[in-house]
Subunit: 342 residues, 2 copies
């Protein structure tokens, strides 16, 4: 099997010759060849330059040979396309004018994604062409709740106090914002398979910070809409929620083909809760890749054993950390290959 065949078979829970592998945020800060590009351009310029985005998307494939290539981009380009200016500092994205009123929600627009974000689609097309059959191309979007959290908080948050207060005190405003975000994100995600993406991952990273009842009201219906748009375009949808252990059944109810699972619970526990009807991606703690190749191999093998050989894509439980050691990244990508060789 080649990379795309192996990856798509795992998404569809069909047998594979070996477990496919990639790493969330694999195109990025831990790679010296990425740092060399970033020495010339800033983060947002890189996102908006299809030639450079293609180059850095391919870098980890050239170096390590993963089975999937995630496009280099950022979830916040969607928010910018809707009319909310975003800047990037060391602490993550910053939204200068937080969106906390119905008037502010109404000022956001829902543009045509291909017109509003031409650089993303150009990067998808070029990367797909360069990849040929080496690896599956994975597009992505931010989940509506996660994008809303940045818009309402004005940036990153530890408590999500502002958006939760809005949800409790003015649920109609919160729903208006989420509805508008889901409208655009669904179109944006649904357009990616036609432009080269084999699959699209929805990063609703911070929805795990909600109580189950808030998740059910403010995250689940909007995730469903985005996932349906991806599947309507003929591609599998992967859902990532960081800290998902308390909401597994609801995550499955989104209809996602694949759940991307964080490292705080074991994949066999997810199998026990959800059965074999959904594929799993994950779930090694990215901090393990700061230590030794031997520790990485042990952790990767444990994840593969817990998930079983069918319907599993080996991945991390969150994005690669900037201080990741290259030899640890290599040990991670090699783990499923070595498991077959032995």
């Amino acid at each position: 099997m080649n990379g795309p065949e192996r990856f798509l078979a795992a998404c569809a829970r069909r047998p594979v010759d070996r477990t496919p592998v990639w790493m969330m945020r694999q195109a990025g800060r831990y790679l010296p060849e990425y740092q060399a590009v970033r020495a010339r351009v800033d983060f947002l310029t890189l996102c908006k330059s299809p030639d450079l985005a293609t180059e850095v998307s391919l870098q980890p494939i050239e170096r390590f040979g993963m089975d999937a290539c995630v496009i280099f981009s950022d979830i916040m380009v969607a928010v910018e396309a809707m009319g909310a200016p975003v800047t990037f500092a060391t602490g993550g994205p910053h939204v200068a004018a937080p969106v906390r009123t119905l008037e502010a929600v109404e000022r956001l627009h829902v543009p045509d994604p291909i017109e509003a974000l031409p650089f993303v689609f150009e990067a998808l097309r070029r990367t797909r062409e360069e990849l040929r059959d080496r690896a599956a191309l994975v597009g992505f979007v931010g989940g509506p709740f996660t994008l809303a959290s940045y818009l309402v908080e004005g940036g990153s948050s530890r408590t999500f106090a502002e958006i939760k207060e809005l949800m409790c005190s003015e649920p109609a405003v919160a729903h208006a914002l989420l509805r508008k975000l889901a409208d655009f994100v669904a179109r944006y995600a649904g357009a990616q398979p036609k432009e080269g993406a084999h699959a699209v991952q929805v990063f609703d990273t911070w929805a795990g910070e909600l109580s189950p009842s808030m998740y059910e009201e403010f995250a689940l219906p909007y995730q469903r809409k985005v996932i349906a748009a991806i599947q309507g375009a003929g591609a599998p949808a992967i859902l990532y929620v960081n800290g998902c252990a308390g909401k597994l059944k609801m995550l499955a109810q989104t209809g996602a083909d694949v759940l991307s699972v964080d490292w705080r619970l074991d994949l066999d526990a997810v199998r026990a809760a959800l059965g074999a009807g959904i594929a799993l991606q994950g779930n090694v703690d990215p901090c393990v890749l700061l230590s030794t190749p031997a520790a990485v191999t042990t952790a990767a093998r444990a994840a593969m054993a817990a998930a079983g050989p069918v319907g599993h894509i080996l991945n991390l439980g969150h994005g690669v950390l900037p201080t990741t050691r290259l030899e640890c990244a290599r040990a991670f990508v090699d783990a499923p290959k070595a498991a077959v060789a032995t």
Copy 2:
């Protein structure tokens, strides 16, 4: 039933006249009478002044009438007593000389807790005397992993990269540190019931950030030791781990009498996983107390309905936030009382 009777009955899963209630970090920053005290002294001075610590411990009881009174202190006083200087800034505790080598671990000492932390025990005795039978007195300690994380990281962390790297690369050093911390914390926790505490809560807040296998190796055995010391002193032990959903069975294996549960999963799911053999505390999202009294009442009632009337202590899923509205705190404390009245 009076406060202590109601609280201790719930810990022991015996019937109660109504669900007991308190709030983690209830003595603190959201109260104007606390701010008035803090205008005169800094945080660490307040921790070390038994008369003032007693005063602020009693403030929420005087204002709202909770069934339990948690002593005003900080988990980091234990670390300071072991020889690692700690300062407090807005970002949380700061350890100027992080502990990352065996030599640094060996420089820590395990003193007699009553000699090393006389102000804590004096505050416990005075508060118990002032409380009479109004509320149960809850002492507390930091869990060994959580204290170790501050010592190794040098302060707060989002990723816990330093301590996880140490655990993977130099497990012997990590275990030496955890063993020493557990030695002291077990003595410190075990001394509190004799000095007035009806129960002792172990805040191993950040242990939820570990993978299950790392939790089993680096958190569970040390939690067990501390919990056994509390129970050996004749008091119930309450265990709090933030983000506990993926490790419920291991939390129960610590032998804790009560699990204090965060808001990211429902209490009926915890009951389903663990049965009726363990009491539960929690688990309203503290962010709800930033919104409206009506939203608080709804959330408190949902938590009580999910947990059932026996073996439940109504609480938040994490500490009270500084921006909590006083009328929301009142609605929270009143919710179990109103449930009986209707």
